[in-house]
Each structure stands twice: as structure tokens, then as C-alpha cells.
């Protein structure tokens, strides 16, 4: 794992945290949605907060795809779950919510999960491409 790859993982976490926060604020401002008003639902994405949130989520998505191109799904997801910690911190310091003891415990658990997975290998199964020589059976992870 190079520094560049860690930065991509960090980008996934940071962009999704900011994007989700903006989206949540924007949707609250846009008001209650109803299944009966489909046009209202589609127009909701034009609300400035929602639109900015979507921009951040696009950046998140680009980083996410890049990460998935060289790492397992079960590596990328826990490794980037730092975003939940970031959302809690944003809620605490920008939206002035109270972060309770259980929330700090939650933050600790998420951080532990991130620590666990990033100590292991990023890629365990490489799907065979046409041009590749098949690897010996013994090299594959046993079910």
C-alpha cells in the first residue's frame, strides 16, 4: 500500500462525510417528500444544499471506484468507515449537536474496525483476466 492509495481511501471517507451532511441539511430544508409527487422528488436535487452534496458525493464515488480497482470490497468498506466518525464530528462542531458517551464509544468501535482491516492485505482474490496465466490451485484462498 502506497501513500497515494491511503490518500484515495481518505478521500472516500472525507468526501462522503461532507456530502452526506450537506445532503441531510438540504433535504430537511426541502421538506417532506411524498411518493405521490414524483416531480417534487426529482426537483429536490436542484436545491443548492442538495446539489452541493451531490457534487461531493460524485468526488466520493470517483475515489471509491479507484479504490475498488485495487482492493477488495470487504477491505474498502471498513477502511473508509472513518466517514461515520467524521459525520459525528461535523455534527458536534458544525451543527452543535451533543456527542454522548455512547457515541464516543461508537466512534471508538468504528476506529477499531478500521484498524483491524487496514492491517490485513488489501486484495485477496484477483479475478482472472484473459491475458493472465492461471495461478496454481494451491495459491487460491480455500473456501
Amino acid at each position: 500500500m502506497s501513500l497515494r492509495k491511503y490518500l484515495v481511501l481518505l478521500g472516500v471517507a472525507v468526501f462522503s462525510a461532507i456530502g452526506d451532511s450537506l445532503l441531510s441539511r438540504g433535504m430537511k430544508a426541502a421538506g417532506n417528500l411524498s411518493l405521490r409527487h414524483v416531480s417534487e422528488m426529482i426537483l429536490a436535487v436542484l436545491h443548492p444544499g442538495v446539489a452541493l452534496g451531490i457534487l461531493f458525493l460524485l468526488a466520493f464515488f470517483a475515489c471509491y471506484l479507484a479504490a475498488l480497482s485495487w482492493a477488495d470490497l470487504t477491505y474498502v468498506l471498513p477502511a473508509t468507515s472513518l466517514s461515520y466518525v467524521l459525520v459525528a464530528l461535523i455534527a458536534r462542531f458544525f451543527l452543535h449537536e451533543n456527542v454522548s458517551l455512547t457515541r464516543w464509544l461508537g466512534i471508538l468501535l468504528v476506529a477499531a474496525g478500521v484498524g483491524f482491516v487496514t492491517q490485513g492485505p488489501a486484495l485477496t482474490h484477483r479475478p482472472r483476466r484473459v491475458e493472465e496465466i492461471p495461478e496454481p490451485v494451491s495459491m487460491r484462498p480455500q473456501p
Partner: protein, 130 residues
Amino acid sequence: MNQLHAELHTWSAVAAIVLASTTGDVLLSRAMKQVGDVAALWRRGGVLVVTGRVLGNPNFVLGILAMATAFYSLLFGLSWGDVSLVVPAAASLTFVANAVAARIFLHEHVDRRRWLAALFVAAGVTLLAV
């Protein structure tokens, strides 16, 4: 909308998010493994080759459709319920669903460390919602 009605709405949105986003994650992961390391591809062929390879991948297109379904379910969920319930509930259940799906459909080696990571994160995210 009364209280029970609202809760039922919220939880069906959560279920829809979990199902759709797990499907999407698995399809996108498969697509990106087929594309290969994007940085290496970028160096060799430039941004157009990367974009073309990604957008032309059928798994990617299906994955995006599933993600779009998850996204609109999230918008509904957010308008019906609290963000502090919907986002963490959907996320923590998605972590567990993804670990199972990645093992079955992507043949990833989900060892004890990864199970622990998924469960710790899922539990932590749940606590964040309390």
C-alpha cells in the same frame, strides 16, 4: 402520517437501501476488478481510456442502476425519518450484508479479521445512532 406509519415507511426505506446498495457494491467491485488498477490504466492510456473502460463495463452500468435505487431510497428515508437513524441503520446492516455477499459472489477471502472489522464497524455505527 401517524407515528407507526412513519416508522414502517422509514424501515422499508432502510431495507430497500441495504438491498440495493449491497447489490450495487458487489456489481461495482466486480466491474472495477475487470477494469483493473485505474492509476496504471491512466498512465498508459489517459483519462479517456479509463472512462471508456469503466462506462463500457456492463457490471458498472447495472451497479449504477442499483446505486441510483439505493440513493432515491435514501432520499425517501431521510425525508421520512431522522438522518441519525436512517443513515447509520442502513450503513451498519449494509456492512454485514456486504461481507456475506462479497464472500459468496466475489469469492473474497473474508477471514476473522475482516469479519471482526465489519462487525465492529456495524456495532460502532449503531452506537453512533443511539
